[in-house]
């Protein structure tokens, strides 16, 4: 990828991806003269080193254990389409090891007390910028002022509060449901006191057996009610009533045939009427 030094007299047409090195003409730089432990601290105080009017991007860099505060105009108009700008770097960082570099238009970059400036005239025996750029190995330090976002405090606070509210509410709800699950599991444990299995399949099986018992007993009661209402005369009486498979055997002391009556509810399996005894076997089948 091509690397260019962007100066005030730069007027090439760029239509490919480039790394830009900003000339000192586009930024303010000051050495931080107080002892600092980290670059983070330097970044925090960088703004205090300048008394500038306008909208500036402030940053700090560290070169050979020296901290520098930097200020760049946020409205800096770089005449290159932004889509081609892959990175923006500072001449101070990229050319720090040079004492002087000759530029076009009879200008030069010259280091004075660790800070690079852009001056008119050339320095004798100094390398030319095109040669320097050919072999340059760029640092990892980028200036991201084009990629910055402005946030007013109210929006930021509202956004943060909404976020905190949502996460807090969700966490609280999740926690309450977890508690509810624990309570339900405890209640489930309590069901063990009935000495019944706690799986649906086993319970269904027990329940279906009990329902079958209930069905059979309701049927039995209805059958007995029906049998007890057999229209007998005074001298007629039941001699026997007993269960057989799927039905009943009934004996009545009578000369009458009760088939028509029993047919109303049962099927007659077999019957017999002799010696004044009516005997019948009835089933539901």
């Amino acid at each position: 990828m091509k690397t260019i030094l962007y100066t005030k007299f730069f007027n090439d047409k760029i239509e490919e991806d480039v790394n830009i090195i900003l000339s000192p003409q586009f930024y303010w730089i000051k050495k931080i003269d107080i002892p600092l432990k980290s670059l983070k601290e330097a970044k925090k105080i960088a703004q205090n080193y300048f008394d500038l009017k306008g909208d500036y991007y402030f940053d700090a860099i560290k070169l050979d254990d020296i901290f520098f505060a930097i200020a760049i105009d946020k409205n800096l108009d770089i005449k290159i389409d932004k889509k081609y700008i892959k990175s923006i770097k500072l001449a101070q960082v990229e050319f720090y090891k040079y004492d002087a570099i000759n530029l076009e238009n009879n200008y030069q970059l010259k280091k004075i007390e660790d800070i690079l400036f852009c001056f008119p005239n050339h320095t004798e025996n100094a390398p030319f910028i095109d040669d320097v750029l050919k072999d340059i190995k760029l640092s990892k330090q980028n200036i991201n002022f084009l990629n910055n976002i402005e946030l007013d405090k109210t929006s930021l606070i509202l956004l943060s509060l909404s976020f905190i509210f949502i996460t807090f509410t969700l966490t609280l709800l999740t926690f309450s449901y977890k508690q509810e699950i624990k309570n339900l599991e405890l209640k489930k444990e309590n069901l063990k006191k009935y000495n019944l299995p706690l799986t649906n399949i086993q319970l269904n099986s027990i329940l279906s057996q009990l329902k079958e018992i209930e069905f059979n007993n309701i049927l039995l009661k209805k059958d007995l009610k029906f049998i007890s209402k057999t229209p007998l005369h005074k001298n007629e009486k039941f001699i026997l009533l007993e269960t057989i498979k799927d039905g009943y055997r009934i004996k009545i002391k009578t000369n009458k045939n009760f088939n028509n009556y029993f047919k109303q509810r049962f099927n007659i399996k077999k019957f017999n009427l002799k010696n004044s005894i009516y005997e019948v076997e009835v089933t539901h089948g």
């Binding site: 991201n144 990629n147 910055n148 976002i149 946030l151 976020f163 949502i166 996460t167 969700l170 966490t171 709800l173 999740t174 449901y177 977890k178 509810e180 699950i181 339900l184 599991e185 209640k187 489930k188 069901l191 009935y194 019944l196 706690l198 649906n200 319970l203 269904n204 027990i206 329940l207 009990l210 329902k211 018992i213 209930e214 007993n217 039995l220 009661k221 007995l224 009486k237 039941f238 001699i239 026997l240 009533l241 007993e242 269960t243």
Partner: protein
């Protein structure tokens, strides 16, 4: 603030919210499942207990009868008067006993044989 960092923070925030929302939804679903499972179990157990109680053997006051216990109650009541017969049939048939088999004979007096499930 750097745009990339800002978008990253927003993205992380969204990811966290989505994660928490998912966790909340899953926990809620689990709680509801647990609730309905418990209600289902309770209903079934209630019904089982009711039917078990309803069909537990009720053979008290059968003083005139011989009761044999195996895996079921075998009840023999012989030579009963009409009053005794009525009392005993009421106890056996009108209560909710699980009657497996029975035989009632009325020759000169009433004889009853009943098998009731334990």
């Amino acid at each position: 603030m750097d745009k990339n960092r800002f978008y990253l923070i927003i993205l992380l925030g969204v990811v966290l919210v989505v994660f928490l929302f998912n966790l909340y939804q899953n926990t809620k679903k689990e709680a509801f499942n647990e609730y309905y499972s418990l209600k289902n179990l309770e209903t079934k157990i209630d019904e089982i207990l009711y039917l078990q109680k309803k069909y537990s053997p009720k053979i008290k006051h059968l003083k005139k009868c011989k009761i044999t216990q195996t895996d079921k109650y075998k009840i023999n009541c012989n030579n009963l008067s009409k009053t005794e017969f009525k009392k005993i049939t009421n106890t056996i048939f009108n209560s909710s006993n699980n009657i497996i088999k029975f035989s009632i004979q009325n020759d000169k007096s009433f004889n009853i044989y009943v098998e009731i499930a334990k």
